[in-house]
């Protein structure tokens, strides 16, 4: 029943698209990170109107499944572009590459989650650290970048690592809009003979390994970061 | 003899924290243990209450003989139910109100009815003048109030001995007085107490016996006058002169 040869033959083919999964996750996380920093600045500085909009945006994204978000962007974006065209703005709704849609959807998703993590990491930095930095004559921005941000980043890493791993696993549904990543390749390999268990096992092994690898990587980052600020921490 | 400890030894990371201590306490006695920090005073208390296990040593408490290196679960529980302890950091249960903090030990340590326990706890709170705080959580109370509730929590159990582990060290100076007053009252009622403290005034004025403790050993002991005014040992003298301004 279990076709080992098929499982073994499929493995390299499924592995060959793993970069798609990883690159999509990394790009979405990076864009998400930039958006998240903007959101955090807006929310921590309590910029009028924008603050409320950002809060609602984050709440909405955190409150809806990624697959629903994916579909809303997938179906909504072309319609939005058509509507914009109707208003005289020159847009081309056709031929919008699906990879763009996927990156957009996952970036939005990541931005909301990351912004919440950054905020909690920011609040966990002792405010006296900032005061101490300013009191020795640092400019506020410099106090932020030299004293607060390095500590914030250290606090952020474990959460960030979790979010990134979740994102990797969440990309397993992106084949629903036609991107060939690990799950899609597993499905494609299976379609000819309708044998799914073998390819899903391959996919599972690949996912577990990728997640394990990145978890370790982030752990190493954390250790390095902790070492660098350990002297400050010990005296707190 | 209420408590008689023989030759208790404890090593932590190749460091001899307790180097074979003998200690006997009479019923009603108030013993103050003073000495430099890191000398093993706290460790001694924690070993008596089995929060840590000694490497060797025998303890006779009331009529029970206990091997301090291999205490049975039953003996540990029995010992704890006849002793009480007050901590440096109060250690009030953060998820319980002032009243519950006191009643908890009665209900779950001494299997008392909840009603009875609560009325006893209220009486204890009344005695320390904090009855109006009975539904407050520790985070809503000052350090002094927390420690006085900590003492009430210990004494309401009607223990044979109360162990005090630097009960005033974490307090702001202006709050130390109220706690010391409670302790003094307790001593006057004839409660047996072992008090590890840095408050020389308390040791001098309240304790029946003062023990100077350094490097895991009892260097010198006697009544307050003997230890404070006529110390026999060099180290005692050095210690006392170093903290001279305090007494």
């Amino acid at each position: 029943m279990f076709d080992f040869r098929f499982a073994i033959n499929s493995f390299p083919k499924i592995l060959s698209v793993a970069p798609t999964t990883i690159v999509l996750s990394i790009i979405a996380t990076l864009i998400g990170l930039i958006l998240a920093i903007l959101i955090v600045i807006i929310r921590e500085r309590k910029i009028k109107v924008l603050d409320s909009i950002a809060a609602i945006y984050v709440s909405f994204i955190r409150g809806t499944p990624i697959i629903v978000q994916l579909y809303v962007v997938y179906y909504g974006l072309p319609q939005l572009l058509v509507a914009l065209r109707g208003m005289g703005i020159n847009t081309n709704s056709n031929g919008l590459p699906v990879i763009l849609i996927a990156i957009l959807a996952y970036s939005f998703n990541a931005s909301a989650n990351i912004s919440e993590s950054i905020r909690s990491a920011y609040h966990s930095v002792d405010y006296q650290q900032y005061e101490a930095a300013v009191s020795v004559g640092m400019k506020p921005t410099r106090a932020m970048t030299r004293i607060v941000v390095p500590q914030l980043i250290t606090n952020l890493i474990p959460n960030f690592s979790n979010l990134f791993l979740d994102l990797i696993k969440d990309t397993a549904i992106v084949y629903n809009i036609g991107i060939v990543e690990i799950m899609a390749k597993a499905n494609i390999m299976s379609s000819l003979g309708f044998k799914y268990i073998e390819t899903y096992l391959d996919a599972l092994i690949i996912y577990v390994f990728i997640c394990w690898f990145f978890a370790k990587l982030f752990q190493i980052f954390e250790i390095i970061a902790r070492k660098r600020i350990s002297h400050t921490q010990e005296f707190v | 003899m209420l408590l008689d400890i023989k030759n208790i030894k404890k090593t932590l990371k190749n460091n001899h924290v307790l180097k074979g201590i003998d200690l006997s306490i009479e019923k009603g006695e108030v013993v103050a243990i003073i000495g430099p920090s890191g000398s093993g005073k706290t460790t001694l208390l924690r070993n008596i209450n089995f929060l840590e296990t000694a490497d060797s040593g025998m303890m006779k408490f009331r009529d029970q003989q206990i091997d301090m290196a291999k205490p049975s679960k039953e003996k540990i529980l029995w010992t704890r139910r006849h002793m009480a302890m007050v901590f440096q950091n109060y250690n009030l249960f953060k998820n319980k109100t002032a009243l519950e903090n006191i009643s908890e030990g009665l209900i779950f340590g001494q299997n008392m009815e909840k009603k009875t326990a609560e009325s006893l706890a209220e009486a204890a709170l009344n005695q320390v003048g904090l009855i109006d705080k009975k539904d407050f959580y520790p985070s809503q109370l000052s350090g002094g109030q927390q420690q006085r509730i900590g003492i009430a929590r210990a004494t309401v159990l009607n223990p044979d001995i109360v162990l005090f582990d630097e009960p005033t060290s974490a307090l702001d100076p202006e709050l130390v007085g109220t706690v010391l007053r409670d302790m003094k009252q307790l001593a006057e009622k004839g409660q047996t107490m072992i008090v590890v403290t840095h408050q020389m005034s308390f040791a001098r004025n309240v304790a029946d016996r003062v023990i100077f403790f350094a490097d895991g050993e009892i260097i010198e002991q006697g009544n307050a006058e003997e230890v404070f005014d006529h110390p026999q040992n060099d180290r005692t003298r050095k210690f006392l002169s170093a903290i001279a301004e305090d007494y």
Binding site: Y175, N176, L201 | -
Partner: protein, 289 residues
């Protein structure tokens, strides 16, 4: 170095556990049937394949719902327990033996027939090419290749995906650029043709027909039939199912002969493909030739 060794050990244990679980999952314990004379057959169909199969109050609706109902009635010795789920899931279940029988318009592929037991034909699908009105036209698969038309992505779980793969294998000179996608409705795919994102889509007539009346659908043009495809029941390989298969094949022949297949084809699939020229010679041809 020690940690590296530990990692390898963990890895080996992890993989061993996964394999254990999966071989456990595949351990096909087709136990002897109970003494009762009625054998329960668990049947699964995709939940997203109108008008062939769809969920209908916990049972299978559509063409195959009707067909199953009739077979269940006729074969007294069997009782069908029906369920619908995602299509890839149907086959995970069929492969693992959780389901005995998978129903939908499954077409021939060599691997499929090797992996599973298959019945004789249970229906005829009429394949069409759908293009945009006023846009590029295609009347055969070869057209798509020679005119370099873009083909709308096909659900990888779909029979059409393997159908094009098969075509490409047989016609290396006129290869079609095939893109895969997850679960997708015909409405979706055809919308992409009507708005010009892709030039052409391939669908059975029955999937195109309901879309044709929607606002997007009116912008579409449909080709003449480009071929008839037989569809088959697929069954998990077991002794119990070998027996079922014989009964099924006998029953299918009866339903073809008495016109029931034609009747439900007309009812659910909008046209009676059995009346097409060449239908009789196509039905139940040996697909391996």
């Amino acid at each position: 170095m020690k940690s590296k060794k530990r990692i390898i050990v963990y890895g080996v244990i992890a993989i061993a556990v996964i394999i254990l679980i999966l071989t456990g999952a595949l351990h096909n314990s087709s136990k002897a049937n109970s003494n009762s004379s009625v054998t329960t057959i668990s049947v699964a169909g995709p939940d997203n394949n109108r008008p062939y199969t769809y969920p209908d109050n916990g049972k299978i609706g559509g063409y195959y719902g009707a067909l199953l109902g009739r077979i269940d009635q006729d074969l007294k010795q069997y009782k069908f327990k029906q369920t619908t789920t995602a299509q890839n899931s149907v086959f995970v279940g069929l492969q693992s033996g959780k389901y005995d029988l998978a129903v939908s318009n499954w077409w021939y592929s060599k691997d499929r027939f090797n992996t599973y037991l298959h019945s004789t034909s249970n229906g005829l699908d009429d394949l069409r090419l759908i293009t945009k009105k006023g846009g590029k036209t295609a009347n055969s698969l070869k057209d798509i290749a020679t005119k370099k038309l873009t083909l709308a992505p096909i659900s990888t779980d779909d029979a059409r995906y393997a159908f094009i793969q098969d075509y490409n294998k047989k016609n290396p000179k006129y290869k079609i650029n095939l893109k895969g996608i997850g679960d997708q409705s015909a409405g979706d795919a055809l919308k992409q043709v009507s708005n010009g994102q892709y030039d052409v889509a391939i669908y059975p007539y029955a999937a195109y027909k309901p879309v044709s009346s929607t606002s997007e659908g009116t912008k579409l043009r449909v080709s003449k039939s480009i071929g008839l495809e037989n569809s088959y029941f697929l069954l998990n390989k077991s002794d119990k199912n070998e027996k079922l298969l014989k009964a099924l094949n006998k029953e299918l022949k009866k339903l073809k002969d008495n016109g029931y297949l034609g009747k439900i084809t007309k009812k659910y699939l909008y046209e009676n493909t059995f009346e097409f020229p060449g239908a009789n010679s196509t039905f139940n041809t040996d697909p391996t030739k």
